[in-house]
Symmetry: D2
Subunit: 373 residues, 4 copies
């Protein structure tokens, strides 16, 4: 038996997931069989051509026709179309895999999580925080869980890009609060905040973020619309910073920007514990820098050995993998959960937890004071 | 029309190329259509299972039945089976893509190059030096060709692995002179020497290597046979070094080892010219370190921008690719050449040029003196 | 004529400045001649032995006997003895060079700055923020002033140490609010905040920090007293974070800790502007990482060329200098200002500006909200 | 009692040693007292001014007047004046500290070593290979001696500079075979070869270099004389490479150049053993990269802890030292040996061992074949 998949969205994320699906049989032979059944979009001509490129059997322009008809529904559209189709799918008992952040608003995310809850635990609802599936991150998680870094004192995360530093860079839905929710905060910061809680959220380590205090900044207030003689307002943040306190008193320091000149996709997370420290950077995603208890400095570990997470599926040691491989791993885990009726993490509940933090950052920025989460 | 492909070899290289073939339609839609038609091997049961995993329509245990029957023949077997099937295919007018090094001996490589020559320029015969297809290497090549590094004075290359440092690591065909030709020299050094000549071989830069002086060393003289109570002699080098002189007087310094503790797949090339310098390391294959004429230090360039070589086919800037992508690029180029009757480089002639260097290193090691190439 | 110098404090800072004074004649022959005249301290026996080691002609146990008697007074004692002797010296018309932070409290710093103001511009009162005198920092400052990074959007600074991560590490004056003012904030953060304003404080760049929002954390509440069977409370922060807004809207993100396992003296500052970016790290103080406008990545510049700041006084290119050299540079500049009756920066006014930020961080932490500076 | 020191040479090396002598009392209080008594040179006016800058009590234009008159003789002149004054001093029973390489020719070095031998073991004759006194190198030496890297398989050293890459860079004595002996080989390579034998020369590790095979290259055959309208021939190498075999079969790979564009003083040494590996680079001289037996990657160790070699004399952890500190350490060790009548290493015998390697490299380059050492 094969799982039929309907996918909403055929741009960047559509391609990343379609590629992941296409690669499962060769590298994860125990993954469930899948059919790229239906690709959903509005622009019929673009959709047709995408379906051919991405290997989908058919297309549809209305997601409502699809969510009940497929075995699994992937929601890879812009943030403002996350909620309605995902909820409809879940109400139809169809497992949903939705891109992050879960929704533009906390309310949307709450409704989605409620729908996931109502659908029951054998209908997985996953939120696609793909960086949890980087081998080096999984390896770090294992070290943390084994207590090798001790109690956690510091978590530092930042996500730097530079594609908006030019004030003439065109307006897009990512600059609009209605469509995107927030800017660098939701797009980039959601990844960082999820990773932070994923890595140190255990009560033995730091626990959850309990309060947070954020600052959002928009450097360029309006941007030209591509191909048109007008500008539109930028209603989201270009950058945010936040300081946070975890349950155990650990100090969090977070930041993201689309104005960090020279940085393309520089997502870094650093953790200091009582026994050790670690650093990870997405642009060198095969590496983990680890300070072990009995060592003196950070060790640069190439996380490509056969017994490293997911690496037995790929190539010999030292033959590095790329960004896209994280999608193969998360699709493997999600689809396995669907096939087995297992739970999957990151779930909609995890997505909602991040959304609460995003909302707390924005609220604290407005209020100028700390917000309890 | 679709090209039917027959592939000899289904282990590491078989999988790397099968994956590359499978990925072409989604990422290189202008590549010729291909069918993974026949997988060739000796062990029927392993072969069946590999054919299923790698997506081949059929299998064969005798390459002689295949080379005339397919549109393209891939020879991905151990070095000692490179010559005979490749020559047979070329004699049948079938384009051949053969793994490196071209053959265990110079004579074998010469016969293969002669067969390629006899087959004519519309029957491409490619030698799979995949590191020519790393975007950062292509980018470096473009800079060199544009004269941005000036005249070349130094080329330094090394390829470090550590999988034989344990004297109990088991014997394999790679330790046998009959089957492999040489050890670290042929397996790893062939890549380095090919890259060196690819990058600076133009007469304006350094020209070809004209003389070379090598040193081969075997640290462990015999190794246990896995699962058996015996040892077999190691008849190849565990490591080599070489110093070389290019046509323009530039100094080459080369090295490879399987005893470099802690290094998994560390292939590094460094070039100093009159106007600038560059460094590349395979374990960070998305990066190039470049010293430009008007700068003071090396600039760490993430070669993932849209206008970087091959990158428009993949992901947005900063979303790094992996080792396997080099196979996609080389398969794209080779199959395009086949479809269009174009020449392809690296050719068997290029493979022969490297083989001449390998043989010169070994001969100079035996003689204890320089050898003209 | 030679300047007689009286120095209060003979431990770490005493030695750093005594060494600097001793090295001036050989490396900065145009510096004023100085005599290490009087070393001031309370413990006579330790003082005698320090005076001999550090090359002082005499000793005194009461600073009041010294401040009027020497040409220059150096106040290198703990923070709580900064104000009174410095003010007395200034009232006597004696130039003062005082270690940072200027005082444990804002009031103390205000009084000191007022005394400096009253003493007049020909009586220099310097605050020893030595990292302004790192060649790479001066080089960065020149680039920033020349507009090479454009308008500033981000300033990120952190100062990480780990000497308190062990809860059994002994109590010292640095853990006491009365004696030290604050903890990591004042000791480490004062350096970072001074550097930030030094580098981007020009109105063309980012201007001053206008509002700030800090968070202070103490991980270990009491510590053992060395050699005694008791503990004392830790009344200062072990770590702080702060987010800030500069006059032009640039976003600041600051942090320091004494609990960053594995980091010894890791002071890092990073700046992103509209045209370029830079990074500096104290543990590699001879290097600056610079992203220039027409480049693609950070260039690692070894700031040791003859025309780099202060470098013509030292060694040929590539012969790196150390941490202590920053003291030679600042002593050279301060004493030259004294001899010439020139102004010196960083002045007490600059020290006060930092103190205002330290106080604002603490106040915002208590209030849980932003504080205007 | 104080040791009077006579120093021949007042340029770069004269200043480096004079500074070291001046710093001993404050940082190495147990070092013997020394007087900078006589500075020796030919150009009286330059000499006077240097003596004042470097703190010498008197000057002399004939070393013959000095070598018998002082307690210690430092020979810091160009290579061609190393032998005669050093031998005269030793014949007078005066300990000698001579810059490296020991002499321009093997014969000169042999005579010097013979004179040192004749002077007896209580008259130390030291060869100033200062990089033996880098704390990170000493720390590495201790690890190697403790067997932490196991048996040695590879030693790789290179020393890269770029000050001759411009063909118009002026001629100096360093370009002349009579005056300098050799070029990059003797000036830079001598450091590398000494370090290699210092670090792994023990029989348990790799033993001495037993045979070597070198290649010397001169890229620019003549250079302009500064201030004159003529050129002079370059009769030394601009760059060398060498491959070597140690007693235990370990493979050596060595290189130096004055044409490595962008590299100022980049001296790197890398060692791979059966249990671990290490890397050191002079431009980051406070760091050692160490792969330990139970670790997976290189650990970047900041060798500035209190119990690291020589570090208890300097600053707290993380407060880095510079290139010049290596001279303080070697002067401390050499003068302590003089005061105590102890042996000092590196000795003239060690200098001669390096000279034998330099000569072997040149001879093998002429012969085109390996040379036994």
């Amino acid at each position: 038996m094969s799982l039929s998949i309907g996918v909403l969205g055929y741009r960047f994320m559509g391609k990343a997931h379609a590629n992941a699906l296409a690669r499962l049989p060769m590298f994860f032979p125990d993954a469930p069989d899948v059919e790229r059944s239906v690709l959903v979009g509005r622009d019929e001509s673009a959709l047709e051509s995408a379906a051919e490129e991405l290997g989908f059997a058919s297309t549809a322009t209305d997601w409502a026709d699809v969510v009940d008809d497929v075995d699994v529904f992937y929601n890879l559209g812009p943030n403002h179309v996350h909620a309605e189709p995902s909820i409809a799918a879940l109400e139809a008992g169809t497992p949903v895999f939705c891109e992050k952040p879960l929704a533009p608003t906390l309310e949307g995310a709450e409704e989605m999580a409620a729908a996931a809850d109502a659908a029951g635990s054998d209908v997985p609802a996953g939120c696609a925080f793909n960086y949890r599936f980087v081998p080096a991150i999984r390896y770090a998680k294992n070290l943390l869980e084994a207590g090798e870094l001790g109690e956690i004192h510091h978590v530092r995360g930042r996500y730097l890009q530079d594609w908006l530093v030019d004030p003439e860079a065109p307006w897009s839905w990512r600059n609009d609060a209605e469509l995107a929710g927030s800017g660098a905060l939701g797009d980039l910061g959601s990844h960082t905040l999820d990773l932070a809680q994923f890595l140190v959220g255990d009560d033995d380590l730091a626990g959850d973020i309990e309060r947070i205090n954020g600052h959002c900044q928009t450097f360029v207030e309006e941007r030209p619309v591509e191909g048109e003689d007008e500008t539109r307002p930028v209603t989201v943040d270009d950058a945010y910073t936040a300081q946070a306190e975890f349950a155990n008193g650990a100090v969090g320091s977070f930041e993201a920007s689309r104005f960090a000149t020279g940085h393309k996709n520089d997502h870094t997370i650093e953790i200091h514990g009582s026994k050790g420290s670690l650093k990870f950077s997405l642009e060198r995603l095969n590496e983990l820098e680890l300070l072990r208890e009995d060592n003196r400095g950070y060790e640069t570990i190439l996380v490509t050995d056969e017994d490293d997470p997911y690496l037995d599926h790929w190539w010999p040691p030292g033959h590095v993998i790329g960004w896209e491989h994280t999608f193969v791993h998360e699709n493997y885990e999600f689809l396995s959960a669907v096939a087995n009726g297992d739970e999957f993490a990151p779930s909609f509940e995890d997505g909602l937890a991040v959304q609460r933090l995003l909302e707390a950052v924005e609220r604290s920025d407005e209020q100028g004071s700390w917000v309890n989460v």
